[in-house]
Each structure stands twice: as structure tokens, then as C-alpha cells.
Amino acid sequence: MKHEFECVIVGSGGAGLYSALETSAGAKTAVLSKLYPVRSHTGAAQGGISAALGNREEDKPEWHAFDTVKGGDYLVDQQAAMILAQDAIQAIYDLENRGLPFSRTTDGKIDQRRFGGHTKAFGQGPVRRACYAADRTGHMILQTLYQQCIKNKVVFFDEFQVIDVILEAKTCKGVIAIELATGELHTFAAKSVLFATGGFGRIFKITSNAFANTGDGPAVLARKGIPLQDMEFFQFHPTGIKGLGILITEAVRGEGGILRNNAGERFMEQYAPTLLDLAPRDMVSRAIMTEIAAGRGMRGDKKIDDYVNLDATHLAKGVLEAKLPDITDFCKTYLGIDPNNTPIPVLPTAHYAMGGIPTDLHGRVVVDEKGSIIEGLYAAGECACVSVHGANRLGTNSLLDLVVFGRRAGIHIGEYVKTIDFPAIPSDAAADAQTWIDRLTDGKTGPHGGHMAEEMQTVMMENIGVYRNETGMALAVKTIQNLRDRYGDVRVQDFSKPFNTDLLELIELKNMLDLALITGVSSLYRKESRGAHSRQDFPDRDDDNWLKHTLATLKGDHVNLAYKPVDTSIWEPKPRAY
């Protein structure tokens, strides 16, 4: 089936929905979502969304921008960070005015709490900057934006999986998607396409990410020769539930929770004497793995699945119930413990891609170091890389990124589509997608994807994790290349059309394998330690050689690497201590 829209948005999380609110005001817009929109992973974000409102204590956007830059280990583009921090304030008020039920101060304003890496006066100590709605801030953002889309009668295509993008002559002309309910391929001709497909934590074994987070947008574009930026920087959140990876929000530490080793010591005193447990995530994750490697994990056996404790037992009575009810419930459901009485066993969990589809400040996809764009092609949210997160994202800045840059992209698209006519798309636009699906469903017997997915996730977790080295990363790259070869033989077991989730998972597997390869190669060739990319064989940051963004282009079995400069126009890079 063929459709025609002025704007097609792929993905219905925070970035996609915010963009849709802007574009649908003036342009005929369709939102494609692989899930029902309210199931998107924005809804799993817990702790908060930062803005220098100053409702609890003095705060300034400049401080927020600086924290973002320093938190990102100076790989952040600094003017972009300033825009993020400045636009944040109105973005929060807009969300509140649209109905978001923020938690409140005693005088009825939006309440704010502490979060990792957010400081006053350029590092003088923690600041209350994170606006929140209990510990379901992302859920409330997703709900509020979806509700506004209902109000504005935005057109949704629920449970449509994107397969391909139509690019011709440096112009984006639409996308190809499969309707899960029927198995039918749909061609969406469009003046503009925004990818807002979220993250791809599912390339790792232990992750806080949803099953849907398979990087569909970046993978589709990578296969069309669009470079992906800074893919070596993947955040491991320090506090996932041991073994499961379910996120325990940083807000537990923001409210006073403390990480302890097997001697009961507050070990962050050794690693970040000023911010302690509220140091940025990359530093806390490394501290945990260092403690475990030294035999100070709770079991003390130095094994990779040993863990540390997140202690919230000393918090004032009622804090957990009132401000962190979901966390309390997760602990009771999955661990059988009450965090009021028992510390939570935690380990780092694969959480967030700092890298992704390179964009400018309006969400336009930028394909080289000269700033060349593809007309009509946009990206926003976790799948994009502006870059406001650099080498390590600060907590709460992901939700902020969605609303600030989702909105900016939506506004730009609204103007852009007025200036052009509908594109003529080739009659065989869906041919590549059809060939792929035909091959997976041709009736031949081949290996099933389940084992391959598990192999990918294990090798990525073990070798492209919190700490990395040449040998491990080379092994991971080789393994992924081998899996990509073997993918040529995989076949479905399910030959039905309606809700063929077997086929869906094989499509997702291909996306993940491509992104795993790009992540692995980008990591292997960055010979320094910066932010979340921490190498045992190159332990120091090397600004002379590596203060630059990676641009990784998929070429068949290989990945070509190029680099582009970082915007350091406001603050000179300095050693990073907290």
C-alpha cells in the first residue's frame, strides 16, 4: 500500500511525539511506531528532567551547560549544550502547562532534586535541578505528549516496523515499513522523514533497555551509507538490578542513597571526594567494577557478576514510598526485598547510546565533517547525536534532549515542507525490503536467530563494556563479523503473515548486528580513554590526538572511519575531577 504525507515520523517516544505536535500544526503528519505509542521506552525513564528553574535553590543555565560539557568529558559540542540548557526552562513549563503532573514544592511549584554530575557554580557541589514526577518522570512525559497528540488528532500507524528509507540524489523521499498485523509492506512517500527510534541497548546482554530498543533508525540509515557518530560511547548505568539489568534510578542516590562495598565502606569517597555517589555515571560504573575486581564486591570472588550494594535503608521514613514508589515495587517484585530494610544488589547495566545519527541543531542529518545535509532527513532523541552528551551523558539530560531537540526538529520540518513539492518516488522503492523479507521467508531451513542474538549480546557485554582493551574489542569485532556472515543463512520458523513476530525479530537482529559492528570498530580504533570509553591499554584522555568526533560508515563487511572537530568555543577542556 502507498501513502503520502508531508512529514513521516518514525518512532513514538518523547522525541517523535514532541516533533509530531509541532509538525502536525501545519503539515500533514504520520507517526509510525513499532509498538502502541504509549509503550515506547521513554516511559521507562524514572528520575527526572533537568532545567535551571531555581525552584529550590539558585541555578543558572550556564551552570547546567557547563556540567553537561564536563560530564561528557569535553566531547560535547558546546553551543549545542548551551541551547539544551537554555531551552530546558521553557520546555519544562510547556510540559507542565500541557498537564504533566510534576511533583510539587511546599509552595506549589515544580519540585527539583539532585542528580549525578549536576552542580552549582561550575562544580562547587550538588544542585537541585532535576524536575520530577515521583520516579516515573518519563512515563508522565510520554503520557502527556501522547495525550496532546490525541488532542491534536495526529495520525498514528501503530505496530508498523520501518525496514528501509528512500534516499535519492541527497534527498530523503520516504520510508518503507511492514505492518505487523497483516505482514503487508507499505511505502510512505514524504517530503520529510524524522527518525526518532530510540536506543539500541539490546546489543548487550544486560541492559535496562526494552526489547524494542534495537536501533532500527540508525541501522536503516547506516545501510544507506549515512555515517554514525561517536558510537564507541555507550553508557553503562551504575545501578541496574544485579542479573536483570532493570534500572534503579540515580534519584535513589539523589535522595541520599549510598553505594557500599563488602566492608560496608562508602567507596565513592575514594573516587569522587566532592560529589561522592552523585559523580557522573561513567565514573561510578568504573568505581563499582574496580571495587569488584579488587575483591571488594559483596561476594568478594572478583568474578564479573559479583555486585555492590545500593543502600537506602537510612533514608527518612516515607521517602521511598513518596518519591521512589516504582523502585520500591521493583525491589519487592524482582528481588523480594524492601529497600527500606535491605540494600539493593546492583551492577552496571547497558543503558544509553551517546552516539547515533549525526545532526545539526535543527535535527537535520549531517553526513560529513563539512556539515553537508541530506534534504528532508531528520533525527532526534537517543538515536541522534547532536552532540549534547559527548562521551558520557548526565542523568536527566536524555529526557531533556527529547523535548528540546524533538521540538526544534519539528519546528524546522514545519517550515521546510512548505518550501518543496511532494517527491516522485521510484516504482521499485520497496524492492530491497521485499527481497530481504522474501529471503528470510523463502521456506528454506536455516539457523534460527535466537542463538545468534545471544552470542552477539554476550560478546558485546564481555568485551565492549565498562572497561575495554585491544584484545577483547578485536575479538568482539571478529565475532560480530562472523555472525553477520551467518545471518545470510537465517530463516524464519513462522511463515504466517499476521503478527509474524519471528520475522520481526530477525529484522531486528540484522539491525543490532550492524550497530554492534559499528560500535565495536569505532571503539577499537579510539586509542584513549574518555567518558564511557575506558581502555585499560590507553587509560588517559588524549586531547592532542582524540578531541574529535568519530564518523563511522558501514561499507559491506567493513566500517570506514573519519573524524570531525568538537565545538569547544566556550570552555577550554580541562582534566575532569569531581
Binding site: 509498538l35 502502541y36 504509549v38 509503550r39 515506547s40 521506552h41 516511559g43 521507562a44 528553574l53 519544562i92 513549563y93 507542565e96 502547562n97 500541557r98 498537564g99 503532573p101 510534576f102 511533583s103 510539587r104 514544592t105 511546599t106 509552595d107 506549589g108 511549584k109 514526577a133 516515573r136 512515563h139 508522565m140 503520557q143 495525550q147 496532546q148 490525541i150 488532542k151 498485523a181 526494552a210 526489547f211 524494542a212 536483570l244 532493570i246 516504582d326 515495587d329 521493583f330 517484585t333 524482582y334 523480594g336 534460527h448 535466537g450 542463538h451 542474538a453 545471544e454 524464519v492 520458523q493 513462522d494 504466517s496 503473515k497 499476521p498 503478527f499 513476530t501 519471528d502 525479530e505
Partner: protein
């Protein structure tokens, strides 16, 4: 331990009616039931159809009937539904919604009913320069209802649908309350025609099955009763009668 999942299956391409299929699967008592389903799909039978996403009870994808109760598969541990080797766990799709494939139901009607109560803040007053002021006490009046993940467990659990498929249902009604109880919202009269009718709040007969099923601890039945009270008070103030379908 090894348990048996007895799963109700239906493929519209090949089946005229549903059938049960049994799978034996190795699990730990602390595994999620969703983990068991994934193990089957990944390593035994790729044709099994079910929805999943967040896997920790916040996205609402995997609501289904497990041993006769409407629950999220990712928030149900094996040990809650099976004690020993060989125990059978029966899994069926949600009720009151058309089955599309195996455990996947069509939620269009469910979402249409949700949309019908205008689930968005209605307030045409000029937008303030900053936030609208709301006390924490005012906010807490509807706090639990903002937990809703629209998983449709309550919709499946509600016995009213057995006789009246046009009932708006627990989720839509509790989300109606979420807005009319919000001190910032001015849309009570906009929503009144949808809420105050025989298929609206008045169809609820306080079975409390929705409240029992809700994986997000929403006091759904109570919120529906509070909505009834708000409508009664509003009509009384205006000297009107409520529209519950009965005739005086």
C-alpha cells in the same frame, strides 16, 4: 525446575478456533513468566505470538491471562504461579478484545474508549509565564491514576463487559477521573456527556475486579465512585437528574 506452559493459540490464517499447546520449559522460580515465554520463542518455537517490550512492568505490552488472572507476564514470577517440577501454568489472551494471533489482542476499541473521555488537560485560560501552581495535596488527589500504563488488564478483568460490550470500561473512566480531579483542569463539563450515561460510570457495579487486576495499584473502583459523586453533586447544584439509564 521444569514447568509446563499450556498456551492458548490461534492463527487466523490456519485456525477456525483456538487450541491449546503445551511447552515444557526449564526455569528458575525467580524468573519472570515473560522469560519463560521468550525461552520458548527463542529456542523452541518461533511461531509463538505475544507482545513484549520493557520487561519490568512499565510499558503495558504483555498483559495476558495467567492461571485465570489478568496480569503482566513480566511482573509475574514463576514461583507465584508454579511450585514444583511439572506444574502447569495456563496462559490465555486478554478477554473482551478480539484475538489477532495467539496472545496478541486488538486494542483498538480499548484505545478508542480511552480517547473518548478526552484524556488531555483542558484549560483555555491564558498560559502563565511559568508553571501553574498546584499544591502537593491537590496533586495527590489523582496521583495513583497517573500510574496507568493502559495495559488493559482491568478491561479483561471487568465482568460488566460480559453483558455490555459498550461499557467505557475501568481504564477510560479512571483516566477521566485523572483529569477532572486535577485542580488545573477545566474540562469537567466537556467530559460529562461521555461519563454521565448508562454506558459510562453508571454501568459500573463495584465488582472491584479491575482494582484487583491493576498492576499499577490504581484504586480504579474508588475513582469511578468518586466520579459518580462528582456528577451527582454537579447535577444537584444545577437542579438536574443524572443520566444513568433508569427512569423515575
Amino acid at each position: 525446575m521444569k514447568i509446563i506452559l499450556k498456551i492458548e493459540r490461534f492463527n487466523p490464517e490456519t485456525d477456525t478456533e483456538s487450541r491449546f499447546q503445551e511447552y515444557t520449559v526449564e526455569v528458575a522460580p525467580t524468573d519472570r513468566l515473560l522469560d519463560a515465554l521468550i525461552t520458548i520463542k527463542q529456542f523452541q518455537d518461533g511461531t509463538l505470538g505475544f507482545r513484549k517490550s520493557c520487561a519490568h512492568g512499565v510499558c503495558g505490552s504483555d498483559a495476558m491471562r495467567i492461571n485465570g488472572k489478568d496480569r503482566l507476564a513480566c511482573k509475574t514470577l514463576v514461583k507465584e504461579v508454579a511450585d514444583a517440577d511439572g506444574d502447569v501454568v495456563e496462559i490465555k489472551p486478554l478477554r473482551h478484545l478480539p484475538v489477532q494471533r495467539d496472545l496478541i489482542v486488538d486494542q483498538t476499541v480499548f484505545f478508542d474508549k480511552y480517547k473518548s473521555i478526552q484524556p488531555f488537560l483542558i484549560n483555555d485560560e491564558p498560559v502563565p509565564a511559568k508553571e501553574r501552581i498546584q499544591s502537593q495535596e491537590e496533586r495527590m488527589k489523582f496521583d495513583d491514576t497517573t500510574n496507568c500504563i493502559l495495559c488493559a488488564s482491568c478491561y479483561s478483568a471487568c465482568p460488566i463487559f460480559d453483558k455490555n460490550k459498550n461499557f467505557l470500561g475501568p481504564a477510560a473512566l479512571s483516566q477521566g477521573y485523572r483529569f477532572i480531579a486535577d485542580s488545573r483542569d477545566k474540562g469537567f463539563e466537556n467530559r460529562l456527556p461521555e461519563l454521565d450515561r448508562p454506558d459510562g460510570v453508571w454501568a459500573c457495579q463495584n465488582h472491584f475486579k479491575c482494582t484487583e487486576a491493576c498492576p499499577r495499584w490504581i484504586k480504579i473502583t474508588k475513582r469511578i465512585n468518586q466520579t459518580k459523586k462528582m456528577i451527582q453533586n454537579h447535577r444537584k447544584r444545577k437542579g438536574e437528574s443524572i443520566n444513568d439509564g433508569t427512569t423515575d
